[in-house]
């Protein structure tokens, strides 16, 4: 065991190397290669775990702080708004007028898309009604337009 540890220490310090052409490696040499190899790989990667975890948690704190600040600012904003324009706030929760024959799922999808966009753009968008689109032109006039606007 001592021999193995000694040779591992030598290998690590770069003092002892094995020439590529050496045959019949002794048990001690092989064991030292295995131990050194595994230990070095683990030390290197554990070091990375520590560093990545540390900076990960630093960023978590920073991000949380940013999020908190943004949230606080939002809350303050909203408070001011609710005091000034209470009726508007009520208008926001109005249920959209949905035409008969349109499924609830469709409305849900439209609302989800709008809320996703409104959080991205920072604007408050409201869905007021959902109607089926009626064809604007008759088939004949549509055909005429296509005919006249077709590129060569």
């Amino acid at each position: 065991m001592n021999y193995i540890l000694n040779s591992a220490a030598q290998v690590l310090s770069g003092k002892s190397t094995i020439p590529p052409d050496q045959d019949h490696l002794g048990a001690g040499t092989v064991a030292s290669v295995v131990i050194t190899g595994i230990v070095v790989v683990f030390i290197a990667l554990i070091l990375l775990i520590l560093l990545v975890t540390i900076y990960g948690s630093i960023f978590k704190v920073i991000n949380n702080r940013k999020a908190k600040k943004a949230e606080d600012a939002k809350k303050a904003d909203e408070k001011a708004k609710t005091v000034e324009t209470k009726p508007q706030q009520e208008a926001k929760v109005t249920i959209p007028v949905v035409e008969d024959g349109i499924e609830e799922e469709t409305v849900a999808v439209i609302m989800a898309a709008i809320s996703a966009m409104s959080s991205a753009s920072g604007k408050n968008l409201v869905l007021k009604s959902v109607k089926t689109a009626k064809p604007q032109r008759s088939a004949w006039s549509a055909a005429g337009i296509i005919e006249n606007t077709r590129p060569f």
Binding site: V11, G14, T17, I18, P19, P20, D21, Q22, D23, H24, L25, V30, V33, V34, T36, G37, I38, V40, V41, F42, I43, A44, L45, I46, L47, L48, I49, L51, V52, T53, Y55, G56, F59, N63
Partner: protein
């Protein structure tokens, strides 16, 4: 009459110089067998889809190099100058064939780091940053490398051969070529081509080798662990990561610097978001060009006398041992982490610690879904998977530091 005589003479000398005559000289039959073997690998690549992007160039290189008198590749040019560890590159430049010139990129360790540049530009280290403990699994799977070293030593192989065979367990083609081209000398009974063939064949066989080992080492309960979502990783974290890894690993294991450095350079290019053109080149054109050069020249080193010996069988046998041990080590550490984490970690992601990106991660996903169809382990397995790439580069650096 004179015309006919000279015609016959010319024809005779043409026939003597032709490749057909080359098959008839002493040892020429070996070339025929090698060409047949190259057909087998071509078949595996084309019909069976075994890593075709590499096995097809390798097998064609094998064909080219075994055509007598074609002079594309000269193994004798790559012998060391007597009493030194240097190669006479002047001679190669002056007299070398096409594949000799291209092989310089392998021997001078140019191609594998460039491939790593492309891999880095394609890799997302996000899952690893989100769950840094995956590094442990990536490290454990490298156990396969070092335990195979023991196996190779038991066969009485030289240190260079042991190291080259062991690195197959890293399941990383470029790393295997990088290590073996540096270690193997002209006294070695195996060539870089042999190592590459074994490495890429087994990488293609990962979906067959890994699942039985994974299932044997885990219980149904362990395999059924459902893992939650990973936390999102910010862009700044992704930018710091490659720089940090390069500095730490290169300082710790300097001989791993070319591989890790280029891998992380590629990744930094990608994550920076401001070098679109360079990223595209690294991911596509450069990577493809290097793959062609690497494949066809590595194939060219598979000369008859380096393949048709008992060592080739030993390499193939030890290669599969290396892969299996790597998988087993990863899964076993996964089991340990399962216990320590209070049954929150699915040990199946441990097997992804062998590099083979992203195949190994997909296997974890697949085996996991066999138990719980709604379990998505893929992103969790990508962490150990990319950690395995870093891990095998470190292991390569260690081998290169020890054996020289």
């Amino acid at each position: 009459m004179a015309i006919i005589n000279s015609f016959l003479d010319t024809m005779a000398s043409l026939a003597a110089e032709s490749g057909f005559a080359g098959f008839l000289v002493e040892g020429g039959w070996k070339n025929i067998i090698m060409i047949l073997i190259s057909f087998v690998f071509m078949y595996l690549a084309v019909a069976k889809g075994f890593e075709p992007l590499l096995l097809l160039p390798i097998s064609f290189g094998m064909l080219l190099t075994n055509l007598p008198n074609a002079g594309l590749y000269h193994p004798e040019f790559w012998e060391y100058i007597k009493g030194t560890h240097n190669i006479n590159y002047g001679r190669i430049l002056q007299e070398g064939g096409l594949l000799d010139i291209l092989y310089m990129g392998v021997k001078l360790q140019v191609y594998p780091p460039l491939i790593f540049l492309g891999i880095g530009a394609m890799t997302d280290f996000g899952p690893l940053i989100a769950s840094p403990k995956s590094f442990l699994l990536g490290a454990a799977a490298q156990g396969g490398i070092f335990f195979t070293f023991v196996g190779a030593a038991l066969f009485g192989m030289s240190a260079a051969e042991c190291g080259s065979i062991a690195i197959i367990g890293g399941a990383d083609g470029p790393t295997s070529i990088y290590v073996s081209s540096r270690l193997l000398t002209d006294n070695s009974s195996i060539g870089v081509g042999t190592i590459a063939l074994a490495a890429y064949t087994y990488m293609a066989l990962v979906p067959i080798i890994q699942p039985p080992i994974m299932k044997a080492l885990t219980t149904k309960k362990e395999r059924s662990v459902v893992m939650g979502q990973l936390r999102p990783v910010s862009k700044t974290e992704k930018l710091i990561f490659p720089v940090l890894v390069t500095i730490i690993i290169s300082l710790m294991v300097p001989s791993a610097a070319p591989l890790v450095g280029m891998l992380m350079f590629g990744n930094l290019l990608k994550e920076s978001g401001v070098c679109d053109r360079l990223v595209k080149t690294a991911q596509n054109e450069l990577m493809n060009i290097i793959t062609i050069f690497l494949g066809v020249t590595v194939g060219a080193t598979t000369q008859a006398d380096k393949i048709m010996n008992i060592q080739f069988a030993e390499v193939m046998a030890l290669g599969v041992v290396a892969f299996s041990l790597g998988t087993a080590c990863g899964v076993l550490l996964g089991k340990l982490m399962y216990v320590l984490s209070g049954k929150k970690i699915n040990p199946l992601i441990g097997s992804a610690g062998v590099s083979a990106v992203p195949m190994a991660a997909r296997i974890s996903q697949k085996v996991g879904q066999e138990e719980v169809p709604t379990n998505y382990l893929l992103m969790h397995a990508m962490g150990p998977n990319v950690a395995g790439v870093i891990g095998s580069a470190v292991a390569a650096g260690v081998l290169l530091t020890i054996v020289r």
